[in-house]
Amino acid sequence: MRSQYARRVQVLTGAMLLIALAIIVQLTRIQNSPEAAVFRQQAENYAYEWKTFYPNRGEIYDRNGRLLAGQKTVYEIGVDLTTVRDPHAIAFAVSRELGLNYDNLMNVIQNPPEGLSYLVLADFVDAQKALNLQELKRALQEQASSGTLGGLTGLQFKAHPQRSYPENALASNILGFVNREGKGYFGIEENYDNLLAGNPVSVLIPTDPNKAYEIPRVPDGTTMILTINRDLQAAAENILDKALLEYGAQDGTIVIMNPQNGELLAIAVSRRMDLNNFWNYGTIYHNATEFNPAISKTYEPGSVLKILTMAAALDTNTVTPATTYLDTGSVLIGGVTIQNWDRNPWGVQNMLGCMQHSLNVCMVNLATQMGANNFYTYMDAFGLGHLTGVDLAGESAGRLKVPGDSDWYPVDLGTNSFGQGVAVTPIQMMAAVSAVANDGRMVTPHSLFAMVRDGRQYNVPAQFAGTPISEQTAKTLTEMLAVSLEAESSLALVPGYRIAGKTGTAQIPVNGFYDGSQTNASFIGWGPIDDPQFMIYVWLERPTSSPWGSETAAPVFSEMAQKTVILLDIPPDFIRQQIASQ
């Protein structure tokens, strides 16, 4: 009996061993079969996935740490089609909260594109609206009887950042904007797009949650600190808006720069856009140059360019301030008669009177005496016809015709000397005239003060664009311009501060001829002249109350300068002299 049991056990054991052996053999065979290699490959394909981590876009601050561009949270609202319980409820709630069409929503939820399990209903939804929907979803879930799902089951919310501009339209022409794909357009956003956007990091992430993986460190985009002073920018925009109304000008620009280092403190333009609604771009601007005319729009500057002609004449020793000439009211050059702005003769004048009365005949004489070669060499050194290198996207180079160009005629030497027949941008004029304000050294205008990356701030040093004139010439001309303004009791004067400057009134060429009824009125000035802290350029396009720069742009300059000295804490001259004497 016992041996019988033993025999059975042995047989059973043998059978089980055989089965176990067969299983092992089969396992080994499957593991090493060609099909196994295919499956292994498929498993490896799904074992890891590439995931890209996008850094937060860098913020933009003004020089005093005021946020000009940051991030806000918005939501993508979608439906998980596999868990939707009540499409009607979802379509109704979403259409009501977001103002979308109910029928369209119902249609896409009930007839989704083939193969989709998740459908985006709306993106970039305001946080408050998304919160309202989330609360409604929660409330419906709570009201649902136990064990059942709420009406908005399947509605999903995904938060993500979006560029936000807390100052809305303020300095919009400087900042530019970022579209929904994260690309920067215009201004700082375009010029420093790569730095602001940062570097996305792509890493292979195991899909198996049991496997730990390295967390990539994705540094945020570089934060920018601008040279712009927010309060000064706001004041410039207010003053410009008032000036446009007061003088009936079509458009206008005010640029404020530190002439000693090229830091742009404010750039106000008349057409501004709420950057949070950048899709209105097409309705506000007709072409790209209107976004920031201060750097993009070229025009004939008129008499403000006489500063450069006089600088060249003084620097080449063609004249001194005391040099006199007989002004007959007109002069012939290249077969064309050039007249003064009032078409009158001014008799014997020295160079001070020449600048004070803004005499075209005088300028033509100076250009002729120094010669075309000298004149254009200086204009080239002042940067006319060249980009200034300002760090804002969309700068135009302007145009300076020179002898040898197919469209240059001898008369151009005469007209160019008083600012006609030459196309410049306001920022070019600022850069060129900075040489006069800054002891002969011309600055490169810039709007970036510093960059912050990984917690460290890197300040941007001032850059200089050459020394077109000597220090002595610069000081002499500055004094001449200051005395000119004081002698004619210019509306540009600033009580308590000595300033230097020059008006400009330029006729506008229309279809090849100058339109006598429309002008570009401008004024460029700087102060205090012994230690220049600001240079202001005012440009009013087609003012209707008066065509003259002395009656429109000059008082705007004065108002802007008075505001500037307050906001920049620049004491009047006698206080500074007191401090210096102590």
Binding site: N56, E59, Y61, R63, N64, G65, R66, L67, G70, Q71, K72, T73, A127, A159, H160, P161, S164, P166, E167, N168, L170, P209, N210, K211, A212, Y213, E214, I215, P216, R217, T223, I225, T227, R230, D231, Q233, A234, F449, A450, V452, D454, G455, R456, Q457, P495, G496, Q562, V565, I566, D569, P571, P572, I575, Q578, I579, Q582
Partner: protein, 153 residues
């Protein structure tokens, strides 16, 4: 004298029930060892899975915190924007200052404010530069590695 004892010991040693017990004991030992290894493996993998999930949760929490911080920062900037502050100042009865309102005093030692400095201490390293394989390999991965390295040799 000793012959009976020798026979008894030999008989004890070769007793069938004793051989069976030895086999059973060995088999049980093997089962216990396997159970220990399996338990250890289960313990390690479950802890790894929990840690992985915690890391993902923490990463998500960091992202949400950063987003919230940016959001609040921007909201604060909106509330203190130039237009908002001017409006509030006017409501409180203030008006823009003019040059006639100002009186300048010489204050010895006064230093004019400098532009902002947003430098901060360098951010802490949020992740190890490399994770040694011991921390992300399963037992089978390790075995695979060893076999592969042996084959390579």
């Amino acid at each position: 004298m000793n012959i009976p004892n020798i026979n008894f010991i030999h008989a004890y040693r070769v007793a069938p029930w004793r051989v069976q017990r030895q086999w059973i004991g060995n088999a049980l030992l093997l089962v216990v060892v396997l159970a220990l290894v399996a338990g250890l493996y289960l313990n390690v993998t479950s802890r790894t899975a929990i840690a992985g999930r915690e890391i993902q949760d923490l990463m998500s929490a960091i992202a949400i915190s950063q987003q919230t911080s940016s959001d609040l920062h921007t909201q604060l900037a909106s509330l203190t924007s130039a237009s908002a502050m001017e409006q509030r100042a006017r409501l409180l009865g203030f008006r823009p200052v003019t040059s006639e309102d100002l009186q300048y005093l010489v204050v010895p030692g006064y230093v004019a404010p400098e532009p902002v400095n947003l430098s901060s201490n360098a951010l802490p390293q949020l992740s190890a530069l490399t994770i040694p394989p011991e921390y992300n390999q399963s037992l089978l991965d390790w075995l695979d590695d060893r076999i592969a390295s042996r084959r390579a040799q």
